[in-house]
């Protein structure tokens, strides 16, 4: 968020060592950029009916963003197109100056969250091809995320298996807001397929699933949507643990993306305390809820937790584990975290290396 206060683009030179950026958002330069990768019938479907998500807007988000496309004002590519749509400008603005050795692409405007499941599946498959064609085949630092028709587990699993062994992809991507909590069985085919092909499942904050954004209905403001992603992610994670997803899929790894991590210890304690009282309701859980979280969950760092006192940050990270954090910038979005300013002084060299690069390389299996 530092960019907000420093509108002039400036690039720190203090990060000389390589880093991983585990949350980069690639965009399409033009509306019809996907057409060559998409069956003809969907071209006219798109022109006629548009994108119908689980909210009412035919264009744009229901809560207007703080800036156009929620992006940095200095991130418009010189050749035109929206922020994040130009590989050469992304290289110039992000990958080269920050020495990004591994950049994980998380496309957001895909087929995920659409009401029409056939259209969702077609768009997701096209986006996966597009990630290879436009990004990962052109810059080896970049790796893709397999996006899937999230409400149709069977079709989603087929798309995942289709990409098995493809080195262009390092994870399966879901959004946090779906029609039901992600621990529900309709989503289990996704986890089964991901475990089978050995990729982690990333759950990126955002999306719309048709449910009000709070258990008391719809709030008024964009800031409530943004802060609320942390609450949404907590209920998603609680659902995954309590439904027994990690008992059923013991090798599954998951990444909580852009939803914060400061709340993780408290959620674990609350789950454990409630589990002490109510374990008879979920007898298939063999361990304390916090243990599943400790073993199966990784966390991207942006937007970085930012307490007044840095010892509070370090204590929180110790509760979670230095081996579980994955640095991310969220490029090109407005709340970009600049690598050199994220971690306060006082961190050991080993933890710093794990935070910026080592954990990501290990999790995503990239040398």
């Amino acid at each position: 968020m530092n960019v907000q206060f420093r509108p002039e683009p400036s690039v720190s030179t203090s990060i000389k060592t390589a880093i991983a950026d585990c949350d980069i958002h690639p965009a399409r330069a033009t509306k019809d950029e996907l057409y060559p990768l998409l069956e003809k019938r969907w071209h006219s479907h798109l022109e006629t009916y548009g994108i119908q998500a689980y909210h009412g807007m035919m264009e744009g988000p229901p809560y207007p963003k703080a800036q156009p496309n929620a992006s940095r004002r200095d991130a418009w590519p010189p050749e035109g197109g929206p922020q994040g749509s130009s590989l050469s400008f992304m290289q110039k603005q992000l990958l080269d100056p920050y020495n990004v050795a591994l950049g994980v692409l998380n496309p957001l405007a895909t087929g995920q969250g659409l009401r029409n499941q056939d259209f969702a599946a077609a768009l997701c498959a096209a986006i996966n091809d597009w990630q290879i064609e436009k990004w990962t085949s052109k810059d080896k630092r970049l790796k893709g995320s397999i996006v899937v028709a999230n409400e149709d587990g069977v079709t989603a699993a087929a798309e995942i298996r289709k990409r098995a062994g493809d080195p262009n992809f390092v994870q399966v991507l879901l959004l946090s807001r779906n029609v039901e909590p992600l621990g529900q069985r309709r989503y289990w085919p996704v986890y089964e397929a991901a475990q089978e092909i050995g990729l982690p499942v990333g759950i990126h904050a955002f999306g719309f699933g048709g449910n009000p954004l709070t258990p008391s209905g719809w709030p008024s403001f964009y800031i409530e949507e943004m802060v609320g992603h942390a609450q949404c992610q907590q209920t998603v994670l609680a659902s995954l643990v309590l439904e027994g997803v990690f008992e059923r899929f013991p090798k599954l790894k998951m990444v909580m993306i852009e939803a914060g991590f400061g709340w993780a210890p408290s959620l674990g304690w609350r789950l454990d305390k409630s589990f002490e009282r109510l374990h008879s309701e979920v007898p298939y859980l063999k361990r304390k809820p916090s243990e599943y979280i400790r073993d199966h969950i990784w966390w991207t760092t942006q937007p970085m937790e930012d307490p007044e006192r840095r010892d509070h940050l370090f204590q929180t990270i110790e509760w979670i584990g230095w081996d579980k954090l994955l640095f991310a910038t969220d490029y090109p979005h407005w709340d970009f975290d600049e690598p050199s300013r994220v971690l306060p002084p006082g961190v050991s060299e080993a933890n710093r290396e794990a935070f910026y690069l080592g954990n990501a390389k290990k999790l995503y299996g990239v040398a």
């Binding site: 709070t214 609450q231 914060g260 109510l278």
Partner: protein, 359 residues
């Protein structure tokens, strides 16, 4: 273990309505007739199924009937045992689940009158919360004004999961009435089930609902703060009841960060969220959703950066602790006094007022 000190204020006690028919004497002919003719059932909410382990400590569970339904039990198990000077009654009877605002209003009035007659009249230590029919703000304000004449009512009570986010301007007349009459506004765990209990819909299990209460409190704090409730009503005190509190520091880091980034959207929020919480928001002690080791707890209290936020509560008869371990281990004597006495007295201005008038 930290020992309680005498003269404290228990800010979260739950007297149980034995059955909907127990409220019949407090309804008019029309509503009595509606309840009986239509064969209406008891209003027990899924938030607290009667036999769920969280709904009652095993050794507090009566041989028959609902936990918390008997005053003598409450006196013996909570009021006398922890030596309190005042105990605030927060009835959790499921009147909020009703969809008709007229019916909700009738049931709330009956519930409040029942509380005054069957509990407050029978033990001078007890104080009450006014349960309001939130589907109608007009009727809510009328009920607040009606009940506030009885000085033993110290708080307005709402559920954390209701019809709309609590900061919405439509609710502001409720807050204006509370501020004017010196009442705190308590927000208690539980849902009216008019919306799914999470922002991604319905989970499968009771334990999910209970864990989700904490996230509901977080979204409500955001709503109350960013809508500007406390800019308009600076003297209003709101109390999060059975909310847990270990989530507060990290929650505030995030809210503060986004407020800094996009406060142009809500320019009337004239103070940092952390400052607003310190001056206007309080939390009941139980449940202490932290591991029971002193070192972690002390770190958490340090992260909260204030010793004025917590108010003593047993959450009677809910099962939050065993034996006499109502206070977490390792609290200093000074903090115990603040939590048990100073903070509640500073929050509930009407606690002491009630002595001056006979109801």
């Amino acid at each position: 273990m930290t020992s309680p000190i005498p003269g404290g204020v228990d800010c979260d006690l739950h007297p149980a309505v034995p059955h909907l028919t127990s409220l019949l004497p407090y309804m008019n002919d029309y509503w009595r007739d509606q309840v009986t003719t239509r064969g209406m059932t008891d209003l027990v909410s899924q938030s607290y199924p009667t036999n769920s382990p969280i709904s009652s400590r095993p050794d507090w569970r009566p041989a028959q009937g609902k936990p918390g339904a008997d005053l003598a039990d409450m006196q013996k198990q909570a009021l006398d045992r922890f030596g309190v000077r005042y105990g605030i009654c927060n009835p959790l009877y499921g009147v909020q689940m009703v969809f008709s605002e007229d019916m909700q209003d009738a049931f709330c009035r009956a519930l409040n009158d029942w509380l005054a007659k069957e509990w407050l009249d029978k033990d001078a230590r007890l104080r009450g919360s006014i349960v309001i029919p939130t589907q109608s703000v007009e009727k809510s304000v009328a009920e607040i004004e009606r009940c506030a004449k009885d000085r033993r009512f110290v708080q307005v009570l709402m559920l954390v999961m209701g019809d709309m986010p609590l900061g919405k301007r439509a609710y502001w007349p409720i807050y204006a009435a509370a501020e004017r009459l010196g009442l705190a506004v308590g927000v208690h765990a539980g849902s009216a089930y008019h919306n799914p209990p999470t922002s991604v819909g319905w989970g499968s299990y009771h334990i999910e609902d209970y864990v989700a209460q904490a996230t509901a409190f977080q979204t409500q704090l955001t709503s109350l703060i960013v809508e500007g409730v406390f800019a308009r009503h600076p003297k209003l005190k709101m109390v999060m009841l059975e909310s847990g509190f270990t989530w507060l520091p990290a929650y505030l880091w995030r809210l503060h960060k986004f407020w800094r980034g996009i406060r142009m959207e809500t320019p009337w929020v004239d103070r940092a969220p952390l400052e607003i919480v310190r001056s206007n928001i309080r939390f009941s002690l139980q449940p202490v959703d932290a591991p029971p080791d002193t070192a972690t707890l002390n770190r958490l209290f340090d992260h909260m950066q204030s010793d004025e936020l917590l108010l003593f509560s047993t959450d009677y008869p809910h099962w939050q602790f065993d034996g006499d371990e109502v206070l977490p281990p390792g609290l200093s004597g000074d903090l115990v006094r603040k939590i048990m006495i100073d903070n509640p007295l500073a929050t509930y201005g009407r606690l002491e007022l009630a002595k001056e008038t006979t109801p």
